[in-house]
C-alpha cells in the first residue's frame, strides 16, 4: 500500500447498511473498497459508474461508457458485478408525491426507549408502512429517530398513539411536524463527504 493510497473497509451490518472506516488519505483515482469476507475492490471507474447511474439509471451502457471514455462492455461487466455483490441494491423511480396527487405530512419522531427494548421497538417501527426511516442514537439516553408520513395530523396522531406509544419499552415520544422541506436526497457518490475532504486536501 502506498502512502497516497486510501482504503475504505466496509463491514456489512444489518439491513444492507454499511459502516465506513477510512484508514489513510490519498488521491481519488486510487480509492479502493474491500468488503470483508467477500472481497470486492471498487476503483475510481466503479465510483464514476455509480455516480452516472445515480444521475440517471435509465441511460445505456454505451452512454455511460462514452461519457467515461471506456468500453460499454466494461460498464456492463462492472454494473453486473456490483449488482451481484449488493452494492447496487435496486433501480427505482424517484416520485414527487405531491405532483402524483398524494398530499401527506412528514414528521420526525424521537422515541425515548428502555435500552433493553430499543432494538425490538426499532424493528417494529421498521414494519410500519407509515415509517420511512429508522435510526438509533446514543446521546444522554437511547433514542430512536424515525421519519414518518401520514395523510394528516389526525392520522399521524392515531398512528403514534395506537401503534408506537403502546410498544413495550417506549418511555416517551417527541414529534416535530415538518413545515418546509429544504433538501431531501439519498447518499450520492457525487456528494460523498469523504471525497469532499480529498478535494479540499488536493486544492
Amino acid at each position: 500500500m502506498t502512502r497516497k493510497q486510501r482504503n475504505f473497509y466496509i463491514f456489512p451490518i444489518k439491513n444492507n447498511k454499511f459502516k465506513h472506516k477510512s484508514l489513510s488519505i490519498g488521491r481519488e483515482a486510487e480509492i479502493t473498497v474491500k468488503l470483508k469476507n467477500n472481497t470486492v475492490v471498487l476503483d475510481d471507474t466503479d465510483y464514476k459508474i455509480l455516480e452516472a447511474l445515480q444521475e440517471d439509471a435509465k441511460q445505456t451502457y454505451m452512454a455511460i461508457g462514452k461519457h467515461l471514455g471506456i468500453a460499454h462492455s466494461t460498464v456492463y461487466d462492472r454494473i453486473k458485478r456490483m449488482e451481484q455483490k449488493g452494492i447496487i441494491k435496486k433501480y427505482a423511480a424517484v416520485i414527487d408525491a405531491e405532483k402524483a396527487g398524494k398530499k401527506t405530512i412528514t414528521a420526525i419522531m424521537t422515541v425515548y426507549t428502555d435500552p433493553k427494548e430499543s432494538e425490538k421497538v426499532a424493528e417494529k417501527l421498521c414494519k410500519a408502512p407509515e415509517v420511512l426511516e429508522v435510526y438509533t442514537s446514543l446521546s444522554e439516553e437511547l433514542l430512536i429517530i424515525a421519519k414518518v408520513v401520514a395523510q394528516n395530523q389526525e392520522s399521524l396522531h392515531d398512528f403514534i398513539a395506537n401503534s408506537v406509544a403502546p410498544l413495550p419499552g417506549v418511555l416517551r415520544i417527541r414529534t416535530s411536524i415538518v413545515t418546509k422541506k429544504f433538501k431531501e436526497t439519498q447518499f450520492l457518490m457525487a456528494n460523498d463527504p469523504t471525497k469532499a475532504k480529498i478535494y479540499k486536501r488536493n486544492t
Binding site: 399521524l156 403502546p166 414529534t175 411536524i177
Partner: protein, 107 residues
C-alpha cells in the same frame, strides 16, 4: 345503567387498549392508564396541558365509552367540554367526576 358494573370498568385493560397521555399531536408524556382507577390517579399527575389536549379532542370520553364501556361517565366528561375549563380547575373537575363515579361503582 346505574348499579350494573361492567367488568371492564373495574378490570385492567391490555396494554394496547390503555389510555396514553399526550400533550399535543405525537408528543407522548410517558404516562398511561389501564384502568379507571389508574386513569383517575394519572389525572392528578400528568401535565395539565395533556388534560386540555385530550378533553377538547374528545379522547377521554371516547376511551371511557369504547374501551371501558362506561357510557354514563363518558357523557359526564363530554359535558365538561362546554365549560371551557383549563389548568388546575379542569384537573380538579375531572378528578372529582371520576372519583365520584368510582365510589358509586364500588359502593
Amino acid at each position: 345503567m346505574k348499579g350494573e358494573v361492567t367488568p371492564k370498568v373495574i378490570k385492567t385493560v391490555p396494554r394496547e387498549k390503555a389510555f396514553y397521555f399526550f400533550t399535543s399531536i405525537g408528543n407522548y408524556t410517558g404516562e398511561n392508564a389501564s384502568s379507571l382507577k389508574e386513569f383517575m390517579e394519572k389525572i392528578n399527575e400528568v401535565n395539565v396541558k395533556s388534560l386540555e389536549f385530550h378533553l377538547y379532542r374528545g379522547d377521554f370520553e371516547k376511551w371511557i365509552a369504547e374501551v371501558l364501556e362506561d357510557k354514563e361517565l363518558a357523557e359526564e366528561i363530554r359535558k365538561l367540554q362546554k365549560f371551557n375549563l383549563v389548568g388546575d380547575t379542569l384537573r380538579k373537575q375531572l378528578y372529582t367526576i371520576i372519583l365520584g363515579h368510582l365510589k358509586y361503582l364500588t359502593r
